[in-house]
Symmetry: C2
C-alpha cells in the first residue's frame, strides 16, 4: 500500500490582511512566557524591530490588543499577552489540530475508485 499524505500550510487573514500564522502565534506564546518582547524576539532569532511590527500588525487588525506593550524604566519595557491574545493562541491551535485531523482523512478520498 502506497503512503499518501495531504500536506498544507495555513494562515489566518483578518480584513483581507495577514493576521495569524505559525510565526506570529509562536511570538505571542513566547511573549506570554517571557513577559518581554525583546526576550521573545531573541529566543526566536527575530530582531526586536521585526517582532515589534508583527505585534503592531495583529494589534491593529483586531479591535482589542493581543499584546500590551509598556515602555521602559530601569528594568526595560514589559510585554503582556492579554486575555484576548491568549484566547487567540488557544483557538489557533484548535484550528491547526482540526485541520491536521481533517487532512489525514482526505488522504483516503484521493484513492477512491483508483
Amino acid at each position: 500500500m502506497k503512503k499518501v499524505k495531504i500536506k498544507g500550510h495555513f494562515w489566518v487573514e483578518m480584513e483581507e490582511k495577514d493576521f495569524l500564522g505559525p510565526g506570529r502565534v509562536e511570538l505571542l506564546e513566547r511573549i506570554g512566557k517571557f513577559g518581554s518582547l525583546r526576550k521573545a524576539a531573541t529566543s526566536m532569532g527575530l530582531s526586536y524591530r521585526k517582532a515589534y511590527y508583527m505585534i503592531r500588525a495583529v494589534n491593529d487588525l483586531w479591535s482589542q490588543p493581543l499584546v500590551e506593550l509598556k515602555k521602559g524604566g530601569p528594568g526595560g519595557g514589559r510585554a503582556t499577552l492579554t486575555k484576548t491574545g491568549k484566547q487567540f493562541v488557544i483557538n489557533y491551535h484548535q484550528i491547526t489540530q482540526n485541520i491536521v485531523t481533517f487532512l489525514t482523512k482526505q488522504g483516503s478520498i484521493l484513492l477512491k475508485e483508483i
Copy 2:
C-alpha cells in the same frame, strides 16, 4: 463584524514525495483536453521538458501511469490521460472542495470566546 478567513495551500505527497498539486493537476487536465503533452505544456506557459518531468514524476510514484506517452510518427507524439489519471483529477478536486468548505467553517472557531 471583522472579516476572518482561513487561507491555505495544500498538496499531495506519495511515499514522502510531491505527487499532486494545482500545477500538476492542471497539466493532467490539459493533457486530457489536448491529447498532446506539447500543447498542454505550451498552453500553461511551461517548457516541454519541464512538463515531461512533471508527468514522469507522477507516473513513477503511482503503480499505474496517469498519462500514457506515445512517441512521434508524422503527426507528433500523443499523450493520453488514463482512467487512473482521470480519477486522480476528479478526486483531487473533491479534496480541494472539501478543504475549502472545511476551512470556511474553521473561521468561526478562531473567534470563540473572544
